[in-house]
Symmetry: C2
Subunit: 293 residues, 2 copies
């Protein structure tokens, strides 16, 4: 979807405690050039980002998203973002969202090459219509991520827990999935453990329990997965972080890819083999995820 509104943000120091950051914001025409060719986001994918779901003007999970932005910035040695400034930017940008579902993106780039400071901006656009996908589900293929399960903890410079702008591999994996006739991909470690999708987290139901791969395995901690787990726990279900093998996925009683914009997409097949699903629970989860949080 075409962006609708963009806000350039002059990043404030994390210690800056002013009450109002609006004089650090510059509204932009989204079709006009806004970034210089010296931008390290564009030259090196050097920066971090967040995508936030907005429903009828309400941005969901704002706190989880700004906290993860700060976490990603820390892993990438970027100056700590001022979270009050980002919360206000989200408010200003979400106010420009169209009715229905929309997506707010936050981008914190290392800035212009040899420049003094990061570059930051936020955008809002109408979200794609995922209603049919949430109902009918998605097929996935498993794709080798090349790493073993310990890589993330052993080698923090691989930035596996950071949501960086360097998403070329994620995009290539989605293209490979489509080439294989599937809708999405699930990354699997070299040693056979399931991780995450290129732009979503995996949740499986095994018997009555809900499981997701442990973030320590070098994956991004999903904000939507966190929300779903809180919801399930509050409804008396058991949730757990676990090391899951590819066969745990194919033997699951149901499985979902969850993310901030598509929300809970039930997985109907893995590598061509049908997977059971739970349409009632899927609908319940999406009703929850579409409600203001």
């Amino acid at each position: 979807m075409a962006q609708r509104f963009a806000l350039m943000i002059a990043p404030a120091d994390a210690a800056d405690d002013r009450a109002d950051f609006r004089d650090t914001f510059t509204p932009m025409d989204v079709t006009a050039p806004a970034l210089s060719v010296g931008e390290l986001s564009t030259q090196r994918g050097d920066g971090v980002f967040e995508s936030i779901g907005v429903v009828d003007g309400h941005a969901n999970e704002v706190e989880a998203h700004v906290q993860r932005l700060a976490h990603s910035a820390r892993l990438c040695d970027l100056p700590a973002p001022n979270l009050a400034q980002w919360r206000q930017a989200i408010e200003v940008v979400a106010a420009q969202a169209p009715a229905g579902e929309a997506v707010v993106k936050l981008i914190l780039s290392r800035g212009v090459e040899h420049g003094p400071a990061p570059t930051a901006w936020a955008t809002v656009a109408a979200a794609p219509d995922f209603r049919a996908v949430r109902r009918n589900g998605i097929t996935v293929v498993t794709l080798d991520r090349g790493y073993d399960l310990g890589a993330g903890e052993r080698a923090p410079w691989l930035l596996l827990g950071a949501k960086t702008l360097s998403y070329a591999v994620n995009m290539a994996a989605l293209r490979e999935a489509r080439r294989r006739g599937a809708d999405d991909a699930i990354f699997v470690t070299r040693d056979g453990y399931v991780l995450e999708a290129p732009t979503a987290s995996l949740i499986i139901r095994a018997g009555g329990d809900f499981l997701t791969p442990a973030p320590a395995g070098g994956i991004l901690h999903g904000t939507t997965q966190l929300s779903v787990f809180e919801y399930l726990e509050s409804h008396g279900r058991t949730t757990r972080y676990e090391t899951l093998t590819a066969s745990d996925l194919t033997k699951a009683d149901a499985a979902w890819l969850v993310s901030s914009i598509r929300l809970a997409a039930p997985i109907t097949a893995v590598d061509g083999a049908p997977l059971a699903s739970d349409p009632d629970l899927t609908a319940e989860l999406n009703t929850f995820l579409l409600s203001p949080r």
Copy 2:
């Protein structure tokens, strides 16, 4: 170094055989905004690039660079670049280079989100002064790349042979090297084989032979490494692509990181242990690499 000149390029179809592409070029003020926030290069690190060394206005290894740009584009499912157009863009941009050493960058991005075509541009800037580094050398640390040696061939969606804009890990590895008190890093596979540096290729001398890790192992095929091998062969030396272990590096008679702008930087220490060097050959290689090719 600050960019000096930028040229926006309207990418021509690969089959377009016109003699002159200058009407597809738009010179830009490098400090002015040139890119929209919808750019996938900036949102996703989704694109490919090249850095070309320029000496006194002459761009070196142009053919190897444009061929690698096309190779990277193919691996990323980007439309095939029109190489005649890129050759002419390099000419136009290099003509704006300052005297002495400069760097031309080519960027081919997937374009604006949901847009019809890739975005492309080229820039030129003065190069940093690497004369002392070429003479005095660099210290390196080895850093785990997380992958095993077979990952690149097994999982092409990891894009290991493509020079993509998703360089956040490469940049993080350089920061980690500096944190450890070294100048640069050499990536090592999970199974103990040396690969490449974040922005350079590795060449080692073992006895009279010159060896570099085989590109099939999931590394970028270095244009400078190719030039150095051609030079060495033409001077009666033996060169080989080989699977090299970390201990082949520490036992080498000499080793270099070679790249288009820094050229041949002799490695003086690996993980704190001194490495032998060959100052005469290093000087000879850099004299060659600074000559017009």
